[in-house]
Symmetry: C2
Subunit: 333 residues, 2 copies
DNA sequence: ATGCACTATTCACACGAGTGCACAACTCAA
DNA sequence: TTGAGTTGTGCACTCGTGTGAATAGTGCAT
């Protein structure tokens, strides 16, 4: 760093090491043709000056910036927030920089994606169901690698890393049956994606295998207040157990049951295993999507597509697991 | 966009408009010397080709990228997540692109800041108490504008936009006294910052003005489980009302009181007015920091420092307001 | 026609880094 | 001394854009 605030350039390093700028560049890129002596001299000079390469310039020349666009909606949902945090961490480990857009309007998302393109991102990671189609279109015309996380709805031609909702539904069915439930309901989200439906059919199918059938099916938007209202109709059917497509729905249901104060609440299973689910107040059995793994795979997939633009599209499915808590403990009534 | 996926450059626009590349550049930068006729021709050509300027190249030439680094910790705290979402939205409106680092380790933060510098960010916005000192140091040596959000602890020489914790404390004291409370406790966070302390003293001072004194003072880390444990000692003092430095603390306290099941719970006031506070289960009176305003001001401040590197450091204080809910309704006992 | 003022456009260089190719320096054999 | 072979460096161009200074074009008065 210069005293006037200007950054150190490779030219300064070159001068201090009594060598040309080209050689500095080669040392930094590990070119084997450079002799040990000069390599050491250059590294020493770079170190003394505190040289940090200008990644913008490098990006321009290399046609690869190391920047990855991340599009996410609804950060107020702790699931998304947590996923974003993990994504950013994993990207850091791979030396990728996340240029993030978070918003809830379609216009906003579209202008944001245009901006991402202008910044020459190497790839885009999307965790934003409502905008999938716009994003897919934009990345196709911009021919940028795209990885959808936790979404399947795109055409087969786009890479996606998702959870196995059907398997989760089956696990939940097994668990509830083992816990002694005999009548079942499903409390789903009304998102336009197939996520909720996949969980539901996995659940229903496995129930059928146990010779039970799925009773009431309700849906609601994925936020608390509407879910709380919808919960009433779920409860009115008085099922032994309810599988919810989301922890927010599950908590709304639990709260509604608590307030109703008539008889024991149903067993409840949530989805996402959010921090709130673990609070003693809810003590909610929940499906954990293994976000740790899902985000790792997502970043790895994006990275692979950056390195090899011919890489085939990847469709990965991460196995979820069930975290059993008090909300599905058999009642001693 | 070319068929082979290469981006359209200004050169292509120039050729299509039968004009030189310089003129294209001037049209886009609104140079008044360009005649209306050619301006229209250039814009038409750009439009037909779908030209989007390469902001990386522009950034290199202009020594200003339009990228702003955002450093944030603990996205699992919904307050931080919400603040980040708002920051990103406001930045989008100002045509700034957020390069985000989110993490909880100091080493991670330091390497991330170094990376931000390499990407030649125009400024840094930090919402990360634990790393303030590293960030301040890094921005100083890199001579990058820095705006701390909701933190005051830096030296006076760094710009900061924060809430008025003392005023909030006073408002809460007024409110609780008006509601009939006579004995008071404070449940604070043990962060190294002065945030919690500021709220506490504002509270205590106003209580004193009402001729009351602050009784029990407990502290805990800002996450649920430790708070839940610490809540027991708060309750053991049996105060009429408790002011909590954070909604998480407040909810932990409310849950502890609910579980204890001995007598009416104290009145409880939280801080941050998170979405959870509004849920009927908690119905928590809470201080709203006016994040909308705080984030707007933060972004505006950063932008001003980008445009004018000589801009004076700014220290803004945003007035909070109190959202009254059921947790401070007078008991009819 | 010539000079002058004024406008619209182009030329050529810069930003900071990466890289193919030419070439300098050195070794070794004849 | 000359030639070939090997090794390490440097020149010069490139990435896509912005911009000061030079130039071409126009109108008008002399």
């Amino acid at each position: 760093m210069h005293s006037d605030g200007r950054k150190i350039r490779s030219l300064e390093v070159a001068e201090r090491a009594q060598i040309s700028r080209s050689t500095v560049s080669r040392v930094l890129s590990g070119d084997p043709r450079i002799s040990e002596a000069t390599r050491a001299r250059v590294l020493a000079a770079a170190d003394e000056l505190g040289y940090q390469p200008n990644l913008i310039a490098r990006g321009l020349k290399n046609q690869s910036t190391g920047i990855v666009g991340v599009v996410v909606t609804d950060l107020d949902n702790s699931y998304h927030a947590h996923a974003l945090q993990l994504l950013i961490e994993k990207m850091g480990e791979k030396r990728l920089a996340p240029l993030v857009f978070a918003g809830n309007s379609v216009e906003g998302a579209e202008s944001a994606i245009a901006r991402l393109m202008s910044y020459q991102v190497d790839a885009v990671i999307a965790l934003a169901a409502p905008f999938s189609q716009s994003i897919i279109a934009a990345c196709r015309t911009g021919s940028k690698p795209l990885v959808l996380m936790n979404r399947h709805e795109g055409e087969e031609s786009v890479s996606a890393v998702g959870g196995d909702g059907a398997a989760a539904g089956a696990m939940v069915a097994d668990h509830l049956v083992a816990r002694g439930a005999r009548s079942f309901a499903f409390f789903g989200g009304d998102d336009s994606t197939k996520i909720s439906m996949e969980r539901q059919t996995g659940f229903a199918d496995r129930l059928a295998a146990h010779s039970f059938s799925l009773g009431t099916v309700c849906t609601s938007r994925y936020s608390y207040d509407p879910a709380r209202r919808a919960a009433v109709s779920v409860l009115s059917a008085a099922p032994d157990a309810v599988f919810c497509a989301n922890d927010t729905l599950a908590m709304a249901l639990a709260d509604a049951a608590r307030e109703r104060d008539a008889g024991p609440p149903p067993m409840i299973v949530g989805y996402d295993n959010s921090a709130l689910a673990a609070r003693p107040l809810y003590d909610l059995t929940s499906v954990d999507q293994n976000l740790e793994e899902m985000t790792s795979r997502t970043v790895e997939t994006a990275l692979a597509m950056v390195f090899d633009s011919q890489a085939p599209t990847v469709r990965l499915t991460i196995s979820p697991f069930l975290v059993e808590r008090g909300s599905t403990r058999p009642r001693t009534s």
